[in-house]
Amino acid sequence: MGAVVVFVFFAVQSPAFRSPRGIANWLDPASTLGIMAVAVALLMIGGHFDLSAGVMTGTTALTVGIVAVEFRQNLWVAIGIALVVALAIGFGNGWLVTRTRLPSFIVTLGTFLMLQGLNLGLTKLFTDTVTVGGIDDVPGYATAEWVFASRVEILGAEIRVAVLWWLLFTALATWVLLRTRFGNWVFATGGDEMAARNVGVPARRTTIALFMTTAAAAWFVGTTLAVRLTSVQANTGIGQELIYIVAAVIGGCLLTGGFGSAVGAALGALIFGMTQLGIPYLRWDADWFYFFLGAMLLLAVLANRLVRRYAEAARR
């Protein structure tokens, strides 16, 4: 609903916004954000946050760059190593949260800060500067580019392949949530962890798996960044974690867990992408972007709450 309103609003005023090339343009930020937002939504349904998700896209992108360029490895080897690193970080987050019973907010805040320092420190150590460049000169780049950064022509517009991945991941996450036993575990763990344990849900394993899923998504997005931009800055991804949470919340996820959907989070990302590029298409002063975004977040959450109350009232 919100996505339609936002689309109509921008499309009416800007022909370039609604042209196929314009659509390909704003689907691009929506897609990488959407892949993360879907994973973050799963984690939020399971009752947790991951504040390290944004900086982790930077960590994986830098790992890909440093292993490939500085250690002269095939790009696919670098991408594989980055996946191992990401899954290890995700496992660490999940393990600490379930072991120590600390709020995930605190644990992942710690991870966030540590990764931010590592990203900068290690990049400078290996490259003597703050960026890794020249990723396109590494063996394996052509196939990696095809998988992560190619374009597909649809209706005369060159759509980035990330958009297709985003659709695939959203469908996959929806299927897992609604049709599998793991999906039930996620809802149960996020709804009431003690009750879930009492009926035999492996809550600890579910939580760790969700953190690893978020990390895997960060790996995918980080790799996409590294391959597409061919150079990575040490500060990549910082601050994005809140945007992922915003997208998930606009899409109907509750901060308290136990409720939400992957499709909602994907639509939240779509709204974000349209707003981000809709403002320059209308030639508005971009200084107001965050105000607009914040207002939209509040409106979306209020609308979701009213709709849910109405739905609950109708059910009774």
Binding site: G2, V5, V6, F9, V12, Q13, S14, P15, A16, F17, S19, R21, G22, N25, W26, D28, P29, T32, Q116, L120, T129, V130, T131, G133, G134, L225, R228, L229, T230, S231, Q233, A234, N235, T236, Q276, L277, P280, Y281, L282, R283, W284, A286, D287, F289, Y290, A295, L299, L302, A303, L306, V307, Y310
Partner: protein, 327 residues
């Protein structure tokens, strides 16, 4: 039952009201016909897309320069910025889709922008690059570059500090991941030739930056000069030196009113000025010349806007201009 409907009406009415406002203002503004599409008919449209974050005083002056040039020359100028290279590339693509005639791009991260800049050039749009990234400008097909060579500017600052009698310099970097800042520090190191340390602080946390500089000055004996790369950091560096009871002199890159009064009061030795107003103004002129007369400026070399040095000798003349937002 009634509440969701009312809210829906509100959600729809809000944007519509906003849009009503904007149509009004654009009509009595530059008189643009419709939004987007072709901006032909003699009126040029130029988009400026930089990597400055919103609210950064330095980029505000660049924006002022570009807007002033637009007004002086009767060109429609639109300014957008995003510090994230991928989002900057997306903004460039949006400008190309909107059908602008000219594009001004700052290139903090040339690799990341290569594809979108080449796409703009391929679409027949004149591109001028500004600020950093001059060495890749021609390769991407830009008609010119306006900026400061960061290494040369750093070199100048380092030499000047040596002339001022400094023996040990602390170079304060305020943005992790900014290549230009690293180049300034390494250029200054080269030009200075003495004991040289760098310190990493966060521009979004100036009080934290101040205490970091204070503790560095207390912890490392012998530092007699602090070189900051941003005018806001220069202000806190002066306070930090006072807190630490250090006699270290402060020098900085870039101006603001605090830096100017600091130079007038003798708290700041000098500022390296890259005259970023010209980085906004000149490209618009260059794009007009190119569009109407196929002129190019610079002969394939970057047009340098700095380093100019502002010190006690010339600060008074510049003070008023800085408060007007053009220096």
């Amino acid at each position: 039952m009634a509440a969701p409907k009312r809210l829906l009406a509100l959600a729809l009415a809000g944007p519509l009201l906003l849009s009503a406002c904007t149509t009004d203002s654009s009509e009595d503004g530059s008189g643009q016909a419709g939004s987007g599409g072709d901006a032909g008919g003699g009126d040029l449209a130029v988009a400026v897309v930089t990597h400055g974050s919103a609210g950064d005083a330095f980029w505000d002056v660049v924006q002022n320069g570009a807007v002033a040039a637009g007004e002086d020359l009767g060109i429609e100028v639109d300014y957008q910025s995003d510090g994230d290279p991928q989002r900057q590339a997306q903004l460039i693509e949006a400008a190309v889709n909107r059908g602008v005639d000219g594009l001004v791009v700052s290139m903090a991260n040339p690799d990341a922008l290569q594809e979108s800049i080449e796409a703009a050039v391929g679409a027949g749009i004149g591109v001028v690059t500004i600020n950093s990234g001059g060495e890749r400008s021609t390769e991407f097909g830009a008609i010119g570059h306006v900026g400061q060579d960061e290494r040369i500017a750093g070199l100048g600052a380092g030499r000047r500090l040596a002339e001022e009698g400094a023996t040990s310099v602390l170079c304060v970097i305020h943005e992790p991941g900014n290549v230009g800042l690293e180049q300034r520090c390494s250029g200054a190191d080269e030009g200075f030739g003495g004991s040289f340390d760098t310190l990493q602080v966060d521009i979004n946390d100036l009080t934290g930056a101040q205490s970091a500089i204070t503790s560095q000055l207390q912890g490392t004996t012998g530092i007699d000069a602090v070189l900051t790369l941003n005018s806001a950091v220069a202000g806190v560096a002066v306070e930090a030196a006072a807190d630490a009871g250090s006699d270290a002199q402060v020098a900085t890159f870039d101006l603001n009113e605090d830096v100017i009064s600091g130079i007038q009061d003798g708290d700041i030795a000098f500022a390296v000025d890259q005259q970023q107003y010209t980085q906004g103004y000149l490209p618009v002129v260059m794009l007009k010349l190119y569009a109407e007369n196929l002129n190019t400026v610079g002969g394939g070399q970057p047009v340098l806007t700095g380093p100019g040095i502002v010190d006690a000798d010339n600060v008074d003349a510049i003070a008023d201009l800085a408060s007007a937002g053009t220096r």
